[in-house]
């Protein structure tokens, strides 16, 4: 060999004493800052947990399970069941609506339309609900456009109450959490190679059959993720039941807030909060279990 290899000056000495960083150590090093922030979340949860077994007046020193006992009273149980029910229904509806939207978004070609779609999908999630609720009020309220139109057409005499009840809240829940379902579904569908659809078509499947028998099953992990996100997000929804439910739809998060202001009952608020956290974690774990299995199955066959 004519030319000696070009090396750095320090290389020769370095190679002897150099030991590579263990990959696990390096991974955790990279994760540390994020973990710190998430640790705040965990510490916060633990604090709430501690607070929930305190007593009013002696929040940190006292210990009692009264707050939890209080949760079994009919008022709270009703609230819990209501919360779970609304969260579940909103998740189902949101997912059903999100599937066609997600499919369209996944297969869109024109960049302009894609951007409009993305904006239309994300805005309901982001824009302050206070303002959106005024938007709903103006259309669906007792003196709103829809009622006035129906009155004008002679179809009704008294206005239909579409807001300030469970239906109004449900609608608000679906509308604001809908983006949380669309994005995972769109993402999953985007990942389904077009060749599966083409193969199914050559085997004789109509477009609808292809959708039902190929695309839907393959995007199931995305659908479950979307449903989970909507459920968990809506179970702890605060602003929607507050603004669109009048005083008649006491979802759990509203309970939590009520215990703080005006009741100043931190332990009770915390207990309700703990129930919310536990519900969320259970749903997330179950969902991850199901989607994990499904995803592994899909990956293995590719």
């Amino acid at each position: 060999m004519q030319n000696p290899p070009i090396t750095r000056q320090e290389d020769a000495a370095k190679s002897r004493r150099n030991r590579p960083f263990s990959p696990t150590a390096r991974a955790w090093l990279f994760l540390t800052p994020s973990m710190l922030f998430l640790a705040v979340l965990i510490v916060a949860s633990l604090l709430v947990l501690r607070m929930s077994v305190g007593t009013k007046g002696a929040e940190w020193s006292g210990f009692s399970l009264d707050s939890y006992a209080q949760l079994f009273e009919p008022y709270y149980l009703k609230s819990l069941l209501l919360t779970l029910r609304l969260a579940l229904i909103s998740a189902v509806i949101a997912v059903l609506l999100a599937i066609p939207v997600g499919y369209t978004m996944a297969r869109l070609k024109s960049p302009l339309v894609r951007r409009v779609f993305l904006a239309a999908v994300l805005l309901p999630l982001l824009v302050n609900l206070l303002l959106q609720s005024y938007g709903w009020l103006v259309i669906l309220g007792p003196a709103g456009m829809l009622n006035q139109a129906l009155k004008g057409l002679g179809l009704i005499t008294r206005p239909i109450m579409m807001l300030y009840n469970q239906n109004g809240v449900l609608m608000g829940l679906v509308q604001t959490a809908f983006p949380l379902a669309v994005l995972p579904i769109a993402s999953a569908m985007r990942g389904i190679s077009r060749s599966y659809e083409e193969a199914a078509a050559t085997l004789g499947a109509s477009r609808f059959q292809v959708f039902r028998q190929v695309i839907l099953p393959m995007s199931l992990p995305g659908i479950i993720t979307g449903a989970t996100l909507v459920f968990a997000y809506n179970a702890s929804s605060f602003v929607v039941p507050l603004l669109l439910g009048g005083r008649r739809v006491p979802m759990l998060a509203v309970m939590v807030h009520d215990q703080i202001a005006p009741l100043m009952n931190w332990p009770a608020a915390s207990a309700a909060g703990v129930v919310l956290i536990v519900t969320t974690l259970v749903i997330m774990t179950l969902s991850e279990y199901f989607t994990g299995r499904r995803r592994r199955m899909l990956e293995a066959s590719q």
Binding site: M1, Q2, N3, P4, P5, I6, T7, R8, D11, N18
Partner: protein, 351 residues
């Protein structure tokens, strides 16, 4: 001693063995091919030499120095990956200059070396071309240029030609071989294509079932395969069972007897496996069988223009003979034909 030495090298992932019992001495300046089917451990072995995988046990020494525990970025080995791994966000010139930049080479010297390499690979005008705008063959050459930019002691190629179409692959094989000889750099090339190995290698290391099956020059391995695995993998072969009769004769399952001098040392009654290369078989019009001539019926003819492969069924044993169009007897499937197996063309394989 110079060259690359692998001593008792093995790699386990947990309890799963990737490769074991590897003992190799690869002399300096030679092109060595690691040849084998997928999953045999050849890429793992290459990556261990590169430093991208840890060695479970054993030693890797280059020119007497133990590099088994040196991190990859300090070994100064050039490597071309299967996907080429050219940096998409850099131009051709920046890609090639990267190893030089890392080593603190000054700008002028970098430019000179890049120009020199581009001339070597005949892409002088491409210095500022973004990588995405190159053709497959051009990318190949840039990847190689980048790998040798810092005058590495070893060049490693992991199935570099697998993404190219057949014609381009053949011309690149020749180019790489010529470049290697010109630079006189020790090179290891991993491939599953035995034709590639035969074309390019000074030494072929046949790997199978996580072990080294045979090491030798391409022709050695072709003519004297160590076992059935190697015989089957290199070239096409007619491999069939037989029983030794002693005194240099064997008998085929259908009862035909052959003279095989190589079987003289095998005790009578032993079951053996025989190898005959297609080009050694001689076809002729059907005659009475005598000596090493068998009769059979043609079952398949593969005429690829330059050669004709005729498959004949001789008493249950399927033999394929290779001939050129000039030697063709103009036969068709279903016809009777005689096949002569020259005694010295027979190889006896250990299982």
């Amino acid at each position: 001693m110079t060259g690359l030495i692998l001593e008792d090298v093995e790699k386990f992932y947990g309890s799963a063995c990737a490769v074991t019992d590897v003992n190799l001495h690869l002399p300096q300046g030679k092109l060595v091919c690691f040849l084998g089917p997928s999953g045999c451990g050849k890429t793992t072995l290459l990556r261990m030499i590169a430093g991208l995988e840890t060695v479970t046990s054993g030693e890797i020494r280059l020119d007497g120095e133990d590099v088994s525990h040196t991190p990859a970025h300090e070994r100064n080995f050039g490597m071309v990956f299967q996907s080429l791994a050219l940096f998409p966000h850099m131009t051709v010139g920046e890609n090639i200059a990267y190893p030089l930049k890392l080593r603190g080479v000054d700008k002028a010297a970098q430019k000179a070396r890049v120009t020199e390499l581009l001339a070597m690979i005949q892409l002088q005008q491409m210095v500022d071309r973004p990588v995405a705008k190159l053709s497959g063959g051009q990318r190949q050459r840039v990847a190689i240029a980048r790998a040798i930019a810092s005058h590495p002691k070893l060049l490693l190629l992991d199935e570099p030609l697998s993404a190219l179409d057949a014609k381009l692959r053949e011309s690149m094989q020749v180019e790489i071989r010529q470049l290697q000889k010109q630079l006189n750099i020790t090179t290891i090339l991993v491939t599953h294509d035995q034709r590639e190995a035969m074309t390019m290698a000074d030494i072929v290391v046949v790997l199978g079932e996580h072990k080294v099956q045979q090491v030798g020059t391409p022709i050695e391995i072709y003519r004297n395969p160590a076992n059935a695995f190697v015989a089957d993998f290199i070239g096409s072969g007619n491999i069939f069972p037989a029983k030794a009769l002693g005194a240099g004769r064997v008998v085929l399952p259908a009862g035909d007897a052959l003279d095989v001098p190589g079987s003289a040392t095998i005790e009578a009654g032993a079951e053996i496996r025989m190898l005959v290369r297609p080009e050694d078989l001689q076809l002729s019009a059907r005659q009475t069988p005598e000596g090493n001539r068998l009769n059979g019926t043609i079952t398949f003819i593969r005429d690829v223009g330059a050669t004709i492969e005729t498959t004949v069924d001789c008493g249950g044993v399927s033999l394929t003979a290779l001939s050129t169009p000039n030697q063709s007897l103009g036969m068709a499937v279903g016809q009777g034909v005689s096949v002569t197996i020259p005694a010295q063309a027979c190889r006896i394989l250990s299982a």
